[in-house]
Symmetry: C2
Subunit: 147 residues, 2 copies
DNA sequence: TCTTGAAGCTATAGTTGCTAGAGTCATTAG
DNA sequence: CTAATGACTCTAGCAACTATAGCTTCAAGA
């Protein structure tokens, strides 16, 4: 049995994060020691490592919740899991597309600046007027999470 | 003079967002009508449009605050503005790099799945074990904001 | 002029995924 | 036995809004 500190170390997750996951019902309430400290077994470690890995891949916690409950039903079709992953892929692609447009615009404004005074700064000029931009990079309905 | 609704419409910013910007000191407190409603002039519209455009380009509000106060001093060197933009570009590049790694991993797991049961689902398998991943995509110290 | 509906006002809480504190209790190494 | 960790609960804070509640003001039609 592991204490919360050891569990966090083993899974690469900080202790308050584990308690937070428990609070939102992503991890089950563990056993407690005589002194009221949480005690975890191998199953909890697996589950936490799964969560950690899915978070690293950018899945939002709600999606992870669904994936976890799916993985508890091994005989079912995996279509639902694949759909979740596909949606996550789509979200990642959308974010890449948006960021790539931003990158181009930022590079343009930076290279065009002649490094003089603010009055002539291309960065300030472009920020003041979207018509000076090459692409349309307006933010759309952002459904995504993930850093 | 514009009411808050007209201002929001003109700048493409929602009304509560304008009030939020005022609350955090990004927009100055405007005049009020006899009935206590906010009234904005052309200067406020310019400022709000600047904020909106910078937000669209992913600048965090703190950076926008700095850019705005720079743009009020037209005779100064624009080096500080260019540095802010360059930092934003670096943040965007870092996020693209990370997301590109995630995209590859997600595509890999999705295409490898044979669409059977959860017990054999490659998506679930990979999420359970990072050793099955091709790249190291672990999240690093994310300093960024920006959607 | 009255009335209705849209738009404005303030203040508070919720979103996502944690992180940081305060103040207290349990465990363990020397 | 004491001191140093580590764990406990609870609350608040981050970014950048969004949503709700309950009220007042405004503009236009009947
Ligand atoms: Zn410049
Ligand atoms: Zn633009
Ligand atoms: Zn599958
Ligand atoms: Zn991995």
């Amino acid at each position: 049995m592991l204490t919360i500190g050891k569990l966090g170390e083993a899974a690469g997750v900080k202790v308050p994060t584990i308690r937070y996951y428990e609070q939102i019902g992503l991890l089950p309430e563990p056993e407690r020691s005589a002194g009221n400290q949480r005690l975890y077994g191998a199953k909890a470690l697996d589950r936490l490592a799964f969560i950690r890995h899915a978070r690293d891949l950018g899945f939002p916690l709600e999606a992870i919740r669904d994936l976890l409950s799916l993985s508890d039903r091994p005989d079912q079709s995996c279509a639902a899991a694949d759909i979740i992953a596909t949606e996550q892929l789509a979200a990642v692609k959308a974010r890449i597309a948006r960021l790539t447009a931003l990158k181009a615009e930022l590079e343009r404004m930076i290279t065009q600046c002649a490094q003089g005074t603010i009055a002539d700064c291309r960065v300030i000029e472009v920020l003041s007027d979207h018509a000076l931009c090459a692409d349309d990079h307006r933010a759309q309905t952002g459904s995504g999470a993930a850093t």
